[in-house]
């Protein structure tokens, strides 16, 4: 279990660093803007990335994001699972358990988003498939799970 935790945290941090590096040095605007872009904005961003190297970097980042999904979902589930054991409040205990499902759902929406982004990078000149709704849902779910975890975590520190 300890080994598993080390692996998921290491994977999460390494990929995050790679993302920051690529975003900062190669992609203008960044990948997050692309995720939130509607069809018109998306095509504009891709037009700006037309240079082959940038497009292939964006593509690689999205492929890497599939691994990132695994790591952040695993982290959210393990953190919530650990926190459940310290949470006697019936309501928060239930919400922390719901976090398992919401984290999984966030990963699912992120996968849908990635598939559509890969499609758009390849075919944007002829067709474009916008899934901004999946991006919004993903971030709302991630925000919710982190918020619930934080409330419970801070509460457990105060009561320590």
């Amino acid at each position: 279990m300890k080994k598993f935790r080390i692996i998921i945290w290491a994977g999460f941090l390494v990929i995050m660093l790679v993302f920051f590096y690529c975003d900062y040095f190669y992609l203008k605007p960044g990948i997050v803007s692309f995720e939130f872009a509607n069809e018109m904005d998306g095509k504009l961003i891709l037009d700006g990335w037309k240079n082959d190297k940038v497009l292939s970097i964006a593509q690689t980042m999205i492929w890497l994001d599939f691994a990132y999904i695994f790591f952040y979902v695993a982290i959210m589930i393990t953190l919530s699972n650990r926190q459940i054991r310290k949470e006697p409040s019936i309501g928060l205990n239930a919400l922390l358990r719901a976090n398992f499902f919401f984290a999984f759902l966030a990963g699912f929406f992120d996968s849908i988003e990635n598939i559509s982004l890969l499609y758009n990078i390849r075919y944007w000149q002829t067709s474009y498939f916008s899934v901004v709704w999946a991006t919004w849902l993903k971030f709302i779910l991630i925000g919710w799970t982190v918020l619930i975890w934080l409330i419970s975590f801070i509460k457990s520190i105060i009561n320590r």
Binding site: I84, R85, P88, N93, A94, R97, F100
Partner: protein, 410 residues
């Protein structure tokens, strides 16, 4: 000396006669009292083989916890016991030395607990179980050897609790067992009487004593369901219930050493038992749209739901849902009364109460089950809270040595 007494002419034969009567559900209440003081580990093994109609090796194979579940049990116990050792290393027990002689144990701010039991004490994934709730208390240090899916038989023959009690010398010993012996490996089918014409309750003087003389029916009402479920219980159920009685008696006697002026190795040790709530046989997966209850269909699809109660009942031709519920109602009612009576027997021999029972009957309710056997975390937390009330003496028992969950934590 004991061995030679047992070999005296007549004594062995008498014991054998009583065992035969027990297996046939023909033993009188007084004879059961006589037998429980004569019985030894060898006799218990003999009774067991005859109740299950199997040889000992096969029974233990049947009772063994599945490999995957065992791994998950171990992971959860390891994590729990890390918390225990963390507290111990910080001097948790040293603080006990500060108690003055005038302090009662109730004033003791730091309490150590050893927990042995089944999935109500260790549900290895997703759910918050009873012990999970108890561990959250800062002033309790809990060492857990509980295993989801474990049979009482395994716990008592494995005797891991003896080792842990000898090492920890805890203030409290919590035990939860018997559920899997009743329903594990579809054993439930073997103790049912299809057709509902059994009169075994009327034949069992001891079971009648539990209900007529002993049960606090004003607090835990005896619904008509009880009498309607009884005709489906075969003599093997009563033999198994008496076997539980003998097993627990043997265990408590060993721990509390109340006879022959023996001094207990675990002086001052207090014990808490529990007896489950009336489960609802079902094979319904309960798919729904409430995301907070996502784990219910998950547990019901992947973790054995339907196979413990519903299928064995249907194997014996008990198909009507209400009849199935009544059968389980009768079984759990009697099981709880058996446990409460046991505590009462030992408490009468001591100046202070040593055995307590947490009575979960009627506390879970219709919508409160994760699957056929396990309540939702909300109810596990409430039951755990009642254990804490008992350990910390925050509340007085509801009656006698019994804490009723629906009264203490409604």
């Amino acid at each position: 000396m004991i061995r030679s007494l047992e070999n005296l002419p007549g004594i062995k034969e008498r014991k054998q006669e009583l065992i035969e009567k027990l297996l046939g559900n023909e033993i009188l209440h007084e004879e059961l009292i006589e037998l429980r003081d004569k019985v030894n580990a060898e006799d218990l093994s003999d009774i067991l083989q005859r109740i299950y109609d199997l040889n000992e090796t096969y029974i233990y194979k049947l009772a063994a916890v599945e490999t995957m579940v065992e791994k998950l049990n171990k992971i959860k116990n390891r994590q729990r016991n890390q918390v225990f050792f963390k507290k111990i290393r910080k001097g948790f027990r040293k603080l006990n030395d500060n108690l003055s002689n005038n302090d009662s144990p109730g004033d003791n701010p730091h309490i150590t607990v050893v927990a042995e039991g089944d999935s109500w004490f260790n549900y290895p994934i997703i759910l918050t179980d009873i012990i999970d709730r108890i561990i959250m208390e800062k002033d309790l240090a809990v060492y857990s050897i509980a295993s989801g899916g474990d049979w009482l038989l395994n716990m008592l023959t494995g005797r891991q609790y003896v080792e842990e009690l000898s090492i920890s010398h805890p203030d409290w010993f919590l035990i939860s067992g018997g559920g899997n012996d009743l329903v594990g490996a579809r054993r439930l089918a073997t103790i049912l009487q299809p057709g509902g014409e059994s009169v075994e309750f009327e034949k069992s003087e001891w079971a009648q004593h539990l209900i007529l003389d002993f049960a606090e029916k004003s607090i835990i009402p005896l619904k008509e369901d009880f009498h309607e479920g009884l005709p489906f219980l075969s003599k093997d159920f009563y033999a198994l219930l008496m076997f539980f009685h003998l097993q627990y008696y043997f265990l408590f006697k060993g721990l509390l050493k109340t006879e022959d002026n023996c001094v207990s190795k675990f002086e001052g040790l207090k014990i808490i038992t529990q007896g489950y709530d009336y489960p609802l046989p079902s094979s319904d997966k309960k798919f729904g749209i409430n995301p907070v209850r996502w784990y219910i269909p998950f547990a019901r699809t992947f973790l054995g739901h339907g196979g413990w109660l519903k299928t064995p009942l249907q194997i014996r031709g008990i198909n009507a849902e209400r009849s199935q519920q009544k059968v389980l109602y009768s079984m759990i009612y009697l099981f709880n009364e058996m446990m409460i009576e046991l505590g009462d027997i030992f408490n009468k021999r001591h100046p202070e109460q040593r055995i307590f029972h947490i009575d979960s009957r009627d506390s879970v309710g219709k919508g409160g089950w994760t699957d056929e056997l396990h309540p939702t975390p909300v109810h596990f937390i409430k039951i755990g809270q009642t254990f804490i009330d008992c350990i910390k003496r925050r509340k007085a028992p509801t009656y006698g040595n019994v804490y009723v969950v629906k009264t203490c934590n409604p």
